[in-house]
Subunit: 229 residues, 6 copies
Amino acid sequence: MFKHDKALLHEVKVDGPNIMYASMMQEQLGGPHGELKAAMQYLSQSLRIKDPEIKDLFLDIASEELSHMEMVATTVNLLNGHVLDAKDATVGTIQAHVSTGLTPGLTSASGQYWTAAYIEETGDLAADILSNIAAEQRAKVVYQYLYRQITDKGVRETIDFLLNREEAHNTMFREAFNRLQDTGSLKDWGITKDSKLYFNLSTPGDQFFNANNPQPPSFNSPNTTGTKM
Amino acid sequence: MFKHDKALLHEVKVDGPNIMYASMMQEQLGGPHGELKAAMQYLSQSLRIKDPEIKDLFLDIASEELSHMEMVATTVNLLNGHVLDAKDATVGTIQAHVSTGLTPGLTSASGQYWTAAYIEETGDLAADILSNIAAEQRAKVVYQYLYRQITDKGVRETIDFLLNREEAHNTMFREAFNRLQDTGSLKDWGITKDSKLYFNLSTPGDQFFNANNPQPPSFNSPNTTGTKM
Amino acid sequence: MFKHDKALLHEVKVDGPNIMYASMMQEQLGGPHGELKAAMQYLSQSLRIKDPEIKDLFLDIASEELSHMEMVATTVNLLNGHVLDAKDATVGTIQAHVSTGLTPGLTSASGQYWTAAYIEETGDLAADILSNIAAEQRAKVVYQYLYRQITDKGVRETIDFLLNREEAHNTMFREAFNRLQDTGSLKDWGITKDSKLYFNLSTPGDQFFNANNPQPPSFNSPNTTGTKM
Amino acid sequence: MFKHDKALLHEVKVDGPNIMYASMMQEQLGGPHGELKAAMQYLSQSLRIKDPEIKDLFLDIASEELSHMEMVATTVNLLNGHVLDAKDATVGTIQAHVSTGLTPGLTSASGQYWTAAYIEETGDLAADILSNIAAEQRAKVVYQYLYRQITDKGVRETIDFLLNREEAHNTMFREAFNRLQDTGSLKDWGITKDSKLYFNLSTPGDQFFNANNPQPPSFNSPNTTGTKM
Amino acid sequence: MFKHDKALLHEVKVDGPNIMYASMMQEQLGGPHGELKAAMQYLSQSLRIKDPEIKDLFLDIASEELSHMEMVATTVNLLNGHVLDAKDATVGTIQAHVSTGLTPGLTSASGQYWTAAYIEETGDLAADILSNIAAEQRAKVVYQYLYRQITDKGVRETIDFLLNREEAHNTMFREAFNRLQDTGSLKDWGITKDSKLYFNLSTPGDQFFNANNPQPPSFNSPNTTGTKM
Amino acid sequence: MFKHDKALLHEVKVDGPNIMYASMMQEQLGGPHGELKAAMQYLSQSLRIKDPEIKDLFLDIASEELSHMEMVATTVNLLNGHVLDAKDATVGTIQAHVSTGLTPGLTSASGQYWTAAYIEETGDLAADILSNIAAEQRAKVVYQYLYRQITDKGVRETIDFLLNREEAHNTMFREAFNRLQDTGSLKDWGITKDSKLYFNLSTPGDQFFNANNPQPPSFNSPNTTGTKM
């Protein structure tokens, strides 16, 4: 069951309306690496997780991403301002001016509708957590790009908060991953000769990597010095 | 420049036509974790890579994934057989019988058209390689699912080959990742308090993970005992 | 902010796994009239609502629809069972067997990815509430279709609950609509002659309706005899 | 059978070419609340309607919406002018300059291809008419937004005509709806306790609406004083 | 302006309901080579055609394709029958049973929503007519596939009619094409050495074709012996 | 099997970064008439071709189109420059600035993701080659539009090369088509009276074309004076 608290997870504000910034922030509302994608991905994946602690982690983060989505949507809403003016809406926000009355839609910076094709889900916990670690890293990168191009102080504070939260999620997903040793798709890794081959198909360009000693992925543990709360 | 050799990267065969198996194998031709997606993702990402050895790795694997795609497409083509019979085409292959004359299309097992929305690309090497490691893991999982449900020996040999190749790619992408230390999105990790918080938003369910000591991702090195070829 | 309670809004159960029923119930998880659509539509619309009571109504119902989505997803998950068997997955669930490891995806009964193109949003309160009333009616109809074709008692109980909830939402949205008289898009209705014309463009077939006395929509008030709680 | 008359339903003209206005008007050609959507929705729904008078109404309006679509397309075509100049095509019309030779495409203001996912269709007459009433209201809202932002007199006259026609359709659909009492999805409304509950899931925020006395939707009759023509 | 005549262009009938045949016929209702695609393509292209005779041809055929679409939709509607039974709806029609109440939707045989991405439009008359000739040929092929797999006599008569009409359109589009000599994209063909090269990129496999004497496309005139009506 | 040569098929260069030109060139990278579409279409179609010479032609051209795609992608990459600046990214490239770090994505000029819905494939050789001839003509048209609007000399040279290559492909596809006489969908053309009718459905506008003497398509042979190499 989901409950909604009208307080935002973290207060947002903007220096003032700015259509271009609104377009840019749309990327993290309805884009491929945005908050809706993250929320729906973790929620979907959680349905079949058996380990109760990892399941709880997925649901904690899914709920937080929904709350992030609300923060980003509220930010876009503020940036959209109160004046219909499509002629200055040069990119993904033109529909805000001709179609949604300045209310944010679930679209990316280029105006594309959010699609569940963005979601990565396999039912294999190792694959799903690796997908989530990668997703958090991508989300961080997008927030870095946005931070560099947006000078509005209020928006920057929100981006800074969200970017750091993606790092936290990334860290915790890795912690969860390292519990999975030798289960699911991590089992039976590299047992045939085919898993050790290198096909040098792009030339010129020698072979600079190898898979001589294939082992399943595992992360260096970032939290060994940390204390379980 | 791409050149085509009419020999397949690895020979494929099937015991006989099987519409259901054809549908299932479509998933790795035109599905979200399939070979076309992998090829296009690595090729796109490679365009802006500066490190020549990593760029070469991406292009070697992209070319191999294109060659995998050709193997999977050839397999589907054989499984489609020579008889138009939509009434037995219970899932993703009905269009093979009413529209493409048994030629495989770029669709998933449920018949959905391939979309570039499947591609993960950020221009940040750390994020891109993490995306690729996750993508290879997902591809392995799908091949495992297919292997368990397909009893055709020829198809199984092809799946076995492809599955092991995804492991090899995974291993080599991790090797590449570990070269990136402290660059791009791996820099400045966990420097504000927000990156150390835990929001316990799903209850009941305590906090079983933490981010007290956040550090960027790095993999245990699987190849330390290996020899550079 | 969204918080998650691991208790479902209303308990779900199934008599047993049933792949076909799973496919059918997917329609209300990721289909055009399903619960994700409803949740995202009301949440998006709520962002710019000024009347605090109507805004609260939208957020109450959005949260409930998210909770419904969780109920439907949990039901599909149970119906998917524990056996990968694509050959019996004749419709929208084949990807559950080859790609998501039996975890429900955000797709419709025919396997199509959920898209934000399903969402109706205009920023005009009258248009948005009319859209919501229609959406609730469609959701009821789909649940009626599902109820007639599914004999699993557990699933039927869930459908019955959800169907009745859509009726409740419909009733309350109408109550909210009737507060809007003569505001937004309801203003200035039928003031030119063009709003009173009838173009009889399909023949044979006379004109059986007219717009001689055009007035904006308003509902008969269903709750006049009810008591505000 | 459809027949085409080269005369437009209502003459259109523009003061002069204007790329931005062209982009904006695209919204009602190929956008989610546009004329193609309306035409295809009513035409699709009409196929299974048994009441001949209501079926005739749907087909009259479907034909008119096709004719509206032609008016909007002709308007966009005029606004596109005769000069390829992508650098001034700041939004949804860039493809007109690089791909369609200034011919309008079936896309929205942000350039997205029209999709049948926009269509609402249930086979239940009550739900379908409610969907249509909401669709007409949304179309009116979009035309209002366009009218406020477009100063071209010719375009404004066209918008004014189309906006008033949506009102007429809305009025007539409501008239049709009120004939349906107690049929289809309007039957058996509110007969379990679940249809009377209120879940107060967003807080703070009390309960301001109720469903104590649930009854199916019905509209106040706007045409009682009108005369059947 | 479009007008609708309730008589079909050509009467349709079916021997009896058949869910599988309904799925298959959907391909020509909402699929990539179907009637809606043809109608919308020719209508869109016609907007900027200057030659009044060719423009008239495009609009005649566009109107006919709309009328074909109505024939196909009516056929699917009859084939859908009157019984909701998703468990026998093994492919593209499951949504007819759970969502549209047996009314045909604008989807393909695999249930995918129609998309304007199917439309080919360039604003260049030579390219557009070549696209149309190819489209008519594809439509014929699909009807041939359907004819071979459907034994219902009524449906076969309809297919036979439609297939022959695509041939007629194809013939007339070629006649129109041959009027275009040396205009638009047909001008300045093969004037640089690059237009005469052959890159032999797939090996083994020699070069069996050449472009030594490049000339723009023109068709052998099929109608020289015919009489203008 | 595909092999990659790091040398481009034909060198590309740009006078300097230009975001608008980058957007425009995206059309031929990930748009409906672009290089990826061509490569995937011919590759898919080739799978079931029996004539070894025609199959070789398809694979030669498919490989060349992949190599063209690489040229276009490299050009866009150069045009994207090195400065993140979404505010000047007025069209399809905003995501390059907020999401892909200036790396080209597989999208069109308006930022839409590439979709396999662009691909035309029927398994009938006559229909497929006609589709390809039309596709090459459309690609030429788009390059002509781009050439007229882009003044960058380096880009123009690349466009000139690619445009001429599409002409060469067009010429060779026609040569292949003319080998197909009376096979596949070219057989049994115009044998019923329905293939000779004209429906004059758009009025006013007489009948200016006819199908009195229907014959399947065949091209005037452009290469009769050429010498097979």
